[in-house]
């Protein structure tokens, strides 16, 4: 929204939904999903060039005017991730990177030690680093301390659609962070995105929840609205939770009626 901009590094965005491009059944569906999502920042992966592949995700993003955010998906060590980020910078002309360094294929959970190492190296090398991290408030603080431009904790494993498994950790991360906190991974449906924003996240990053939905374009619109609703609710300030009811109609001025003489 125009009066509530998201700032990451030196760039502002009016959309608080960052969309990935992975998993879309075709470039056409991807394009329509991206438009429906309203996203202004979109991830791509770096892979070996295959001369037989027709069409390019880059041409879709260029056509739509969406900023590209290369990731280091598939990297297991700091060294691999740093080299991949440098290749992405060379290929795409951006020093932004969504830093992913995972520990194993089964969980795709971040390897915190390799992640922090890579983050520090890339920040020193001039990159704007957006790390995909565990929902660990201590690690989040350390990533911020080495100069990351945002903190992107996972709600649950990539592609699992399990939502935010530990909302309390998200609150702890958000309370401490001086850079934007972005839910990254785990969103399954619009209410997950809303919850993230209600918890104080600055943005939501997702791919599979949209691209692998039965109707990706519809889900992209749902996510856009879910993020907006959660952000508005966060800014509005929710009412406190209570154990008992609190009447919303006034107690004063009630008519005195004889319960023994009903009118019917």
């Amino acid at each position: 929204m125009a009066d509530d901009l998201l700032t990451i590094g030196d760039t502002t965005f009016s959309s608080r939904l960052i969309m990935g491009t992975g998993g879309a059944p075709s470039l056409d569906v991807l394009e329509r999903s991206l438009v429906a999502s309203g996203t202004e920042l979109t991830t791509v992966a770096m892979r070996r060039l295959d001369p037989s592949v027709q069409g390019s995700v880059l041409s879709v993003l260029e056509k739509l005017g969406i900023r590209v955010l290369p990731n280091t998906a598939g990297c297991f060590t700091a060294g691999e991730a740093v080299l991949t980020a440098r290749l992405a910078r060379e290929a795409l002309g951006t020093d932004w990177v969504k830093l992913e360094v995972v520990a194993d294929e089964r969980t795709l959970l971040p390897d915190p030690i390799e992640l922090l190492d890579a983050a520090e190296t890339l920040v020193d090398d001039g990159f704007t680093v957006l790390p995909y991290t565990n929902d660990d408030p201590v690690l989040a603080r350390k990533l911020e301390d080495v100069g990351c431009a945002a903190i992107m904790p996972l709600g649950s494993p990539i592609g699992s659609g399990l939502g935010i498994r530990n909302p309390h950790n998200f609150q702890l991360i958000v309370e401490h962070a001086r850079v934007p906190v972005v839910l990254d991974a785990g969103a399954g449906t619009a209410s997950d995105a809303t919850l993230a924003m209600e918890l104080g996240c600055a943005a939501v990053m997702l791919a599979s929840a949209v691209t692998r939905a039965q109707e990706p374009v519809l889900m992209a619109g749902a996510m856009r609205r879910g993020v907006e609703a959660g952000r508005l609710a966060y800014r509005a300030g929710r009412i406190p939770r209570r154990h008992f009811a609190e009447a919303s109609s006034p107690a004063a001025g009630l008519a005195v009626l004889d319960p023994e003489r009903p009118a019917f």
Binding site: G20, A45, R47, S56, V57, L58, V68, A91, L92
Partner: protein
Amino acid sequence: MTISVNGEIREVVAGTTLGALVATLTRAPSGVAAALNETVVPRGQWDSTALGDGDRIEVLTAVQGG
């Protein structure tokens, strides 16, 4: 001489440059990066970078992901 290109073994004539090699894969004017033995070579240096026997070259581009 023998080199490895994206994991495939290739025979190329001595003196082949990185630029000439990449041109056999793509004519795209941007969106492509190359690493020679795990070091990024900026595009502007491709044509002046001669390959050597046993070199490992990775040529990458952006694909859907993340």
